[in-house]
Symmetry: C2
Subunit: 402 residues, 2 copies
């Protein structure tokens, strides 16, 4: 901390991301990434550029083509023109076009999202990951007069963001069994954020519960973080026409295999989206880069591929859950691409360290309530078979040790 750090920044609680493996090859089950690559359409879109994607998407055509035509490639006959031409020839057009700013309105992407969820384009905003979208929403709707309420065990980034924007928050403990009781959320006087399904528990609330919370807080904003909804949850997009106070936040990082592209989005009523855009244009007008706009649009359109990937991951999740339970683990019911599990034979720290030793990274927190749990992202079938085998060894060793 330097002596220049502002008073306001001293008390921040920065988020700690999962470990990025260095040097050694790990099976990486610690940040809820998808084990499968993104849709082949994503690569096609990036290599072909805006012109191609525009061809398959009526209204976005103009934007795409204008950008393309604008490229320095057609600079012509002079020295400088020749240089530009030479470079452009060896470079996919959209990479040459990186010289141009991205579309601040992210039209191609917003249109793909709106079409998929059957909402208006004025009901969607996109961001540099859903982390950024969460920031837009928190900053737009919360302040000392409208604090934020969320669970004690949920996405650790919520309190970090509240710190950043000086937003007071109220933490409500989950029940003993990690279910979220909605009673304290009804008519609560606060803005609310619920991750559904929740992280790190993986547990899911039915749509009716979300509806009760939205209905009972008509003068507060109810945000639902659906980062993991495509793995067995049910999106509350269908509730939007009835509740003007709902903000639904999703990401391309999990079910669409694009964590590294950093694309997230929110769906809400047009007025709330306009509020969030106010923040965006005060913060970073060109917040999503050119290639990620393309990648996100292509991934959103290839719903069949997403379904195939999520289907496989759910299957692997069920298989892994069964195997762990057979080994004496408590495993919460998950509707996500990870499971939250506790060994009956060893403390969480011992299990975590044992897995790491065996080349498998998972995630664990020190906080009292969950210190014996680890969160395991669902990898490929092979990875999970290795994971189960290594777990068997650790359980056996723990049982012998006693």
């Amino acid at each position: 901390m330097s002596r220049f750090l502002s008073k306001a920044s001293e008390s921040l609680l920065p988020y700690t991301p999962g470990e990025q493996p260095q040097g050694r090859k790990f099976i990486k089950l610690n940040t809820n990434e998808c084990p499968y690559p993104p849709s082949p359409k994503v690569a096609e879109a990036i290599l072909a550029g805006y012109e191609e994607i525009a061809a398959g998407c009526g209204t976005a055509g103009a934007a795409g083509r204008a950008e393309k035509a604008d490229c320095g490639c057609d600079a012509g006959a002079t020295e400088a023109g020749k240089m530009a031409e030479k470079v452009a020839q060896i470079m996919p057009p959209e990479l040459a076009n990186l010289r141009l700013y991205s579309d601040p309105e992210e039209r191609v992407l917003i249109e793909a999202i709106a079409a998929h969820y059957r909402v208006g384009t004025n009901q969607v905003i996109a961001g540099n990951g859903s982390d950024e979208i969460l920031g837009f929403a928190f900053r737009a709707f919360c302040d000392s007069e409208a604090p934020l309420q969320f669970a004690d065990l949920t996405y650790g980034f919520y309190p970090a963001l509240c710190g950043l924007y000086g937003i007071p928050f109220r933490v409500v403990p989950l029940e003993e069994d990690f279910t979220l009781n909605i009673e304290p959320y009804k008519n609560c006087g606060n803005n609310v954020i619920i991750a559904n399904p929740n992280a790190p528990t993986g547990m899911n609330l039915p749509l009716s519960a979300i509806e009760e919370v939205a209905a009972s807080n008509p003068d507060r904003v109810v945000m639902v973080d659906e980062a993991y909804v495509d793995f067995g949850g049910e999106s509350c997009v269908s509730l939007l026409p009835k509740y003007e106070n709902l903000v639904i936040i999703q990401t391309f990082s999990k079910s669409r295999s694009l964590a590294g592209a950093r694309v997230g989005f929110a769906i809400a009523n047009p007025e709330l989206i306009a509020d969030m855009n106010r923040i965006k244009y005060s913060f970073n007008p060109y917040n999503v880069n050119r290639l990620s706009i393309l990648a996100g649009a292509a991934a959103m359109r290839d719903w069949d591929y997403t379904k195939e990937c999520t289907g496989r991951i759910c299957k692997t999740r069920e298989k892994t859950t069964e195997a762990l339970r057979a080994l004496g683990f408590t495993v919460l019911d998950s509707k996500t691409n990870f499971i939250f599990a506790k060994s009956g034979d060893m403390p969480g720290k011992v299990y975590f360290d044992g897995l790491r030793e065996a080349g498998i990274l998972v995630r664990r927190w020190d906080s009292e309530r969950i210190k014996d749990y680890v969160r395991i992202s669902i990898g490929s079938e092979e990875e999970m078979e290795t994971f189960v085998k290594e777990t068997e060894k650790l359980v056996e060793a723990a049982r012998k040790g006693r």
Copy 2:
């Protein structure tokens, strides 16, 4: 504005980005983009992936290789494995790797920047455009006890960001001739941001002036926004060892032809960089996406290409400046990739509209002091020849009209 917008957000002054042309083909001289594509090395890096770039960069190797080896491609023999394999085969490896989060420490990129400027890797932070970096710096160092001071005519995003973070600011008018007098910045009690060269004037302060400001405010942070420094300015990186209160902010958007990749960075003393990282990890730990980290690293290493592009642009700028002056324009001395110019024959609005009519987009502001100026980004030689021809026609018409 919805009824849910927080009190704190009502008074925001969101930034208005330059127009993104739709439908019609324009010569786009309104957002200071580079007319030339990025270095061929950028495309190579994106298509080859982290393994390739690691090979050329000792210390980053481990990170690069671990990511690569981690890819779902080697998932193997099952159904799911086959699907992943099939997709991976038709996709450049780094596009398949988009399923993985980006390195939150952006090692490959930070190392390339640090090597180029001969500073430590702990003296560099990267962001989603320098707009994001400005946000980190403002939020880290400014608050009601440490307000921010800047010029009346400078980058319009500064007051927008102050609004977002509730930072009080003091605006100091430029002199009549648009030079920045450093007297009001000496020992001023505020944090300071100076764009050098400045936008939209294009004018440059000598290093000695920046040094005087830094030296006279030892207990305040002096931020220097060097977005345009590669077009004839002199970076104050050389002053860093002497002044622990200096923060230098740069971008890949202008001289490195990567506006659409969204990469910016700051160089400062390690403690100040640590402060800015505190903000980043409260805001968006994975703030730069995978492909832009690669693109930025490759562009930073290809300094010869950057020099070639900036050299051509400076030449075109001087030629355009002469031509406009010959047509009776007042043109400020520019050390950037744009010029700020006023016709002797017509109001700024008439000139702006005339250019637009002729298919040329430039930028103009309504504020009293500069309403007769337009800001013209330097395009390719051909584009600027067209621009001068159209300007000639407009001047002729204006003279006839009188």
